[in-house]
């Protein structure tokens, strides 16, 4: 997707200022960054086409289609299970031609719908990340229960989110409907305040 003269505006632009929020601890307990310019598409298997879809995904993108509650990551694309017969195809840098075109090889076996602009993706890490997230995420994020490559669809502060664990640090990513991004940020900021939150990256201020 080509860029026009107007830049893509994040739902958090002018809302979440980069830098420190909450307690001024020496090191932030929670670090947050927005994954901007990423590509996201919903892949829904056509009726009875799951096996064929999995095979096509493997051949075309060199990655296995994940089982329920799991993610898989290939060189170009990651897949996040998000419901029965549904996955999010995700790349942290959107392809020039757009997600629907990139995923066109799958079209016989799945409906492909670009959601790159429909979700705000936030990456959350830091030594106190689990304590902060426990204030809204009902899913057990203890390492015995939720590991790298795990994903869950849940509600946080009454907002539907998809969460997945990126690494053992642990780092999590949240996909939140764009319209709710500000409310989600409000929750994340207040939940992290006692630990100190650092918003890093290129989020612009007003």
């Amino acid at each position: 997707m080509a860029e026009g003269v107007h830049p893509i505006v994040s739902a958090l632009d002018g809302v979440a200022a980069p830098g420190r929020h909450g307690r001024r601890t020496a090191d932030p307990g929670v670090t947050v960054s927005e994954v901007r310019g990423g590509g996201l598409a919903l892949v829904t298997a056509r009726r009875g086409a799951r096996a064929a879809l999995a095979e096509t995904v493997r051949v075309a993108f060199g990655v296995a289609l994940p089982e329920a509650r799991r993610t898989t990551e290939g060189a170009e694309l990651a897949f996040v299970w998000c419901g029965p017969e549904q996955w999010l195809a995700y790349c942290r840098s959107a392809p020039r031609e757009g997600m629907e075109r990139l995923l066109a090889p799958l079209i016989a076996h799945a409906a492909i719908v670009d959601q790159s602009h429909g979700r705000t993706i936030l990456r959350v890490a830091g030594p106190k990340v689990r304590e902060a997230l426990a204030k809204g995420v009902a899913v057990d994020l203890h390492p015995r229960a939720f590991k790298t490559g795990d994903t869950a669809a849940t509600l946080v502060a009454h907002i539907a989110v998809q969460i997945w664990q990126v690494d053992d640090a642990p780092t999590y990513e949240f996909a939140v409907a764009r319209g709710f991004a500000q409310s989600f940020w409000d929750w994340l900021e207040s939940s992290s305040a006692e630990f100190g939150l650092e918003l890093v990256g290129n989020t612009r201020t007003a």
Binding site: I8, D140, G179, E194
Partner: protein
């Protein structure tokens, strides 16, 4: 002992002088207790002395022992007077250390009340804590942790605690008995709200709410574990240790700020260690285990299905104000695979005459104040107990230097242990006797004791220790409905079969002995971990000294004079229970509601059992037959703010913002909540006096030039798959198979019952791809409906669909100059002429130099109009570009009000008409109902009642006097008919001022609908005093031929 102050008269508020300085006794009282300067616990202000009105030292603090930090000095105030205490004190222990026993007035009779307990079951010592917006009524002094600067006030007294005018209620007690309010204030009903209720609320009730916004924050959090241990006493500590050592994830919740339960309240020896030291050792081991989390100051207050528990952590109740960024309290949702309930037991007082006098305390509480807080709660004690623990009480009193005047044991033959302890304490033992009545008013100063021989003797004292046995805290085991069972052995209710996943250990299970509690906790902790998948070795049990836990219950002393309270908090006496029985309220649940027994903050923790045993006696039923009241969460009072957490005010629910929100803010738009969305309602310009002026301007701008409105909030559903058209056929009443690629069509869908569910346009983007749109309000509902239909009704259809509402920013460009404006935004290679993109055309193209866009020629306003969509991240850019492009044409943004005006002018139905009670026919859309296919709602829409000619159906309405304003909600009645329900013919659903027509117009549903055009009816609106004669007309007020939108 010839202390003159012991002869204080009733009403002097005095507990007498401080106790002797404890020479020769083990603990003794602090040497700094100078009698002359502290003659009474509540001296008159003139005797307070000192600029700070600070009382001197803590005269009743024992010289050594206890778990308070003597190196710390916390100053605090009670009713404006300064006192001193230590870290580790509760407000109650600190007040007692300063000789203050009188702390409140009772609920109904305004009787002076003191401190009965040392824990959360306290019925009497409720105070207002803090001041200003942080004022917190009904705080239990026995759980309020002392901090430096604490402010507390007594409640329910006027003008002062010592002199309370409403104490006259006590004289009126013959008429203030149970059911008084119900009987007396019944009639006339009109006086209830204006007179009776305010009066009663002033006279009764407890503390006052601050009335101001709570300045503190609260939060919610989730916690998962293998084993939840509720209670950090002997059983709980062993359970946590046994489970923790297996590696299981253990959460130990203790409502106190210190672990130990009775182990820190008694002086016991475990493994040759003092019990408090043993607790510290076990606590340290638990704290060192990475898989164990100890939550102190945390009450588990509810048990729910599937191992879910609710708990409240008082994170910062023990400081004056929470540190920045920290909550005051935290509400935990705990998910536990297994639970060990080790909540302990609550001691019961005894029912005798005037048993509510300050200075009458539970024996267990007295031991707590002595052992844990190093406070002597009195100087001369009478012990009145039915349990073998009296021996322990006597030994603790003796070590604290409290003289024991008498031991009254109702058992004809007191157990040997009690007898020996009485002898050791030098106390007179009255076996087979009873305390008949306490004397004194603001403080107890003696008791009338009836001996076994039937004589009554008066014994002077300033402390009465009462012990009526223990009631296990079975609440959490009963929250899911299981009734506890009666145990004769302990004369109390014990859990029957605890809920799945829960084990009950220690005193909560009726195992009152320490060795049993330790063993039970260790066993259940290990079993719980095992059930959760973690095996380990049994924990070695500490060696303990033995104790006797025998008792013979005494539920009520008979033949007493004075009020014998069963429920101290609600001022319910034994006579009230008898009255309830006489008046037929014999079931325990009726007893509770009739007398209020067991209600309010303590929920009858110290009173319920005695009350129902009295009822059992009165009705000659057994205790199991009489039963217990229902245990419901919460176990302890919970601030509503804690349940709300951060979801208050603006954060009550999440806000959903459309892509142009920031730009609209810059324009100074006024916003309106549309479901969760925040939408621009109108855009006021300088000089516009009111909303109507702005809205009229916006409407005229669209009708004459061009306007732009963010319509991203409408639901957008991407539908794909070979069976998409068939899917639409079944969902909508109208046909879809002949809709060409690149075309849009209006559709209407019904519910199963034939009523209209939603409407919107659907565009065919490709052979097997559609974009379905819904109203803003029904976006989620329609998607759910489609999911249900696909998964449940027609799983054979090969369709895939999902919401793309958030993916696309969509703007309506409406007005004669809409195309001219768009021409400057759509990339040049795309032809958007009327020929290329006629009315109801849909195209995928690019805008703003290569941004993917969709353009739909659809119109809600009735003007030449388009909706343009771009990926949401470009929405902000697009609105700015559109405004720039339209400037030369006089473009203006318009909000939901103008949108509404124009749709009413055009007679388009919206949410007010799609109200769940209208069919397609009622809305004038019956001709859309296809006869060539089946669809959801078809059959039910043909029910006779729904097709009747007099069904309220859509029509337009205009005031006969064009200057009159219409109101939505007004009901239609025929001219000359009486405006009563029987003559109701329907109501006005939507109204607007039409700038084009220059008067108010309305849409409404009226019996007969279209058949009545031209008729005049009354629009009657008694709520707003409206009564307007209106003319029924066609609902399309503006451009009925629809020429403008094809321009």
């Amino acid at each position: 002992m010839t202390d003159p102050s012991a002869k204080t008269s009733p009403g002097d508020g005095g507990a007498g002088s401080p106790p002797p300085c404890g020479e020769g006794s083990g603990l003794g009282v602090a040497k700094n207790s100078v009698r002359e300067s502290h003659p009474t616990p509540n001296p008159s202000p003139s005797r307070g002395g000192g600029a700070a009105r600070m009382r001197g030292g803590e005269s009743w603090r024992l010289r050594q022992g206890g778990l308070v930090d003597r190196t710390s000095a916390h100053t605090f105030s009670f009713d404006g007077r300064g006192y001193r205490g230590h870290a580790g004190d509760t407000l109650a222990s600190a007040l007692l250390a300063n000789g203050v026993h009188l702390v409140g007035r009772s609920f109904k009779y305004h009787r002076p009340r003191g401190i009965l307990t040392a824990g959360p079951e306290e019925p009497n010592a409720l105070v207002e804590l803090r001041s200003g917006a942080r004022r917190e009524p009904n705080t239990r002094a026995t759980t309020a942790e002392l901090y430096d600067g604490l402010e507390a006030r007594s409640q329910n007294r006027w003008p002062s605690l010592k002199f309370d005018l409403l104490a006259v209620n006590s004289l009126a007690s013959p008429i203030l008995s149970a059911g008084f309010y119900y009987k007396t204030f019944m009639w006339p009903a009109a006086l209830w709200e204006r007179l009776y209720e305010p009066l009663i609320r002033r006279a009764a009730g407890l503390g006052r709410a601050s009335g101001a916004d709570d300045p503190d924050t609260y939060e919610k959090a989730f916690l998962h574990c293998d084993v939840l241990v509720v209670g950090g006493g002997a059983a709980g500590l062993m359970a946590a240790l046994a489970a923790g050592r297996t590696g299981a994830r253990v959460v130990l919740c203790e409502e106190d700020f210190r672990l130990g339960g009775r182990l820190i309240a008694e002086s016991r020896v475990l493994d040759d260690q003092r019990s408090s030291d043993w607790v510290a050792r076990i606590g340290a081991e638990l704290a060192a285990l990475p898989n164990v989390r100890i939550l102190a100051r945390t009450s588990v207050f509810g048990a729910y299905d599937h191992g879910t528990y609710a708990a409240l952590e008082r994170v910062n109740d023990h400081v004056a104000t929470p540190p920045e960024h920290e909550p005051r309290q935290r509400f935990w949702h705990i998910y536990a695979k297994r639970c060990v309930l080790a909540a302990g037991a609550i001691e019961r007082p005894l029912v005798f005459g005037d048993n509510d006098r300050p200075g009458i305390m539970l024996a267990g509480a007295v031991r707590t104040y002595i052992n844990r807080y190093a406070v002597a709660p009195g100087r001369r004690a009478v012990v009145f107990g039915t349990t073998d623990e009296t021996a322990q009480t006597l030994s603790d009193l003796a070590r604290a230097g409290v003289s024991v005047e008498a031991v009254v044991d109702p058992r004809a033959e007191a157990p040997a242990g009690v007898e020996a302890a009485a002898k050791a304490a030098g106390a007179r033992l009255v076996a087979g006797g009873a305390v008949m009545r306490a004397t004194g008013s603001l403080h107890v100063h003696g008791v009338d004791v009836r001996t076994a021989a039937g004589e009554t003797v008066h014994i002077a004292c300033d402390l009465v220790c009462v012990a009526g046995g223990w009631s296990p805290s079975v609440h959490l085991a009963s929250h899911k409905g299981a009734r506890p069972v009666w145990s004769e052995r302990i004369a109390g209710f014990v859990p029957d079969t605890p809920p799945a996943g829960m084990g009950v250990a220690g005193a909560a299970n009726g195992d009152l002995g320490l060795a049993d509690a330790l063993a039970g906790g260790a066993r259940l902790g290990l079993a719980a971990a095992g059930d959760a998948g973690f095996d380990g070795q049994p924990v070695e049990l500490p060696k303990v000294d033995g104790e006797s836990t025998g008792l013979t219950p005494l539920w009520r002393v008979k033949g007493t004079r004075g009020k014998a309270f069963v429920d101290l908090q609600n001022d319910v006496t034994d006579k009230d229970v008898a009255l309830a029985e006489r008046e037929g309220f014999r079931a325990v649940e009726h007893l509770k509601r009739y007398t209020t027994l067991g209600m309010a903050t303590d929920q009858g923790k110290t009173s319920n059992v005695a009350a129902l045993v009295l009822m059992a006696e009165l009705t000659a039923r057994s205790i199991p037959q009489t039963g217990s009241t229902t245990f419901r969460p919460p176990y302890a009072p919970i601030a509503i703010g804690a349940l709300a957490g951060e979801h208050r005010a603006r954060h009550f629910r999440p806000t959903r913002l459309p892509p142009s929100h920031r730009w609209a803010q810059e324009q100074g738009a006024v916003f309106v909540e549309a479901g969760q969305w925040l939408r621009a309602q109108w855009y006021p310009q300088a000089g516009e006096a009111d909303w109507l002026t702005s809205v009229n301007r916006e409407v005229r701008t669209v009708r004459e030039r061009v306007g732009v409105c963010d319509v991203s909030t409408l639901g957008k559903i991407d539908l794909q798959g070979p069976d998409s058209a068939e899917f639409l056929e079944r969902l909508y009443i109208n046909g879809w198979k002949n809709l060409a690629v690149g075309k849009a069509r209006y559709g209407l869908m019904l519910r199963e019952d034939g009523m209209v569910m939603d409407d919107g346009t659907t565009s065919r983007l490709a052979e097997q791809r559609y974009l379905v749109t819904t109203t803003t309000a029904n976006a989620a509902k329609v998607l759910q409906h489609m999911e249900l239909c696909h998964q449940w009704l027609w799983p054979d259809l090969d369709v895939q669909f999902c919401s793309v509402t958030e993916q696309w920013a969509q703007f309506s460009i409406a007005g004669p100059r809409a195309r001219d404006t768009l021409r400057k935004v759509i990339d040049g290679q795309h032809d958007i002429s009327d020929a290329a993109l006629p009315y109801l055309g849909a195209a995928e193209l690019t805008a703003m130099g290569g941004v993917a866009a969709r353009l739909f020629r659809i119109s809600f306003s009735g003007e030449l109009a388009y909706e343009i969509a771009v990926p949401a991240g470009h929405g902000d850019g697009l609105i700015r570009r559109l405004m720039e492009a339209g400037r030369a044409f006089g473009i203006a943004p318009y909000g939901t009000e103008a949108l509404g005006v124009m749709r009413i002018e055009k007679g388009h139905v919206a949410g007010n008409e799609l109200n769940g009670q209208t069919t397609a026919r009622n809305l004038g859309l019956g001709r859309m109902m296809s006869r060539r296919k089946d669809y959801i709602g078809r059959v039910m829409a043909d029910r006779p009642g729904l097709t009747a000619a007099d069904r309220p159906s859509l029509a337009g309405f205009k005031p006969v006097d064009r200057d009159q304003r219409l109101r939505a909600g007004a009901h239609f009645v025929r001219e000359g008919a009486r405006p009563v329900l029987a003559s109701d013919e329907g109501y006005m659903t939507s109204v607007a001022f039409s700038p084009a027509l220059g008067h108010w117009i309305g849409l409404g549903l009226i019996a007969g609908g279209a058949a009545r055009h031209g008729e005049r009816v009354r629009a009657y609106d008694p709520v707003r005093h409206g009564d307007v004669l209106v003319e029924v007309c066609d609902p399309v007020f503006y451009d009925p031929a629809g020429e403008r939108l094809r321009g």
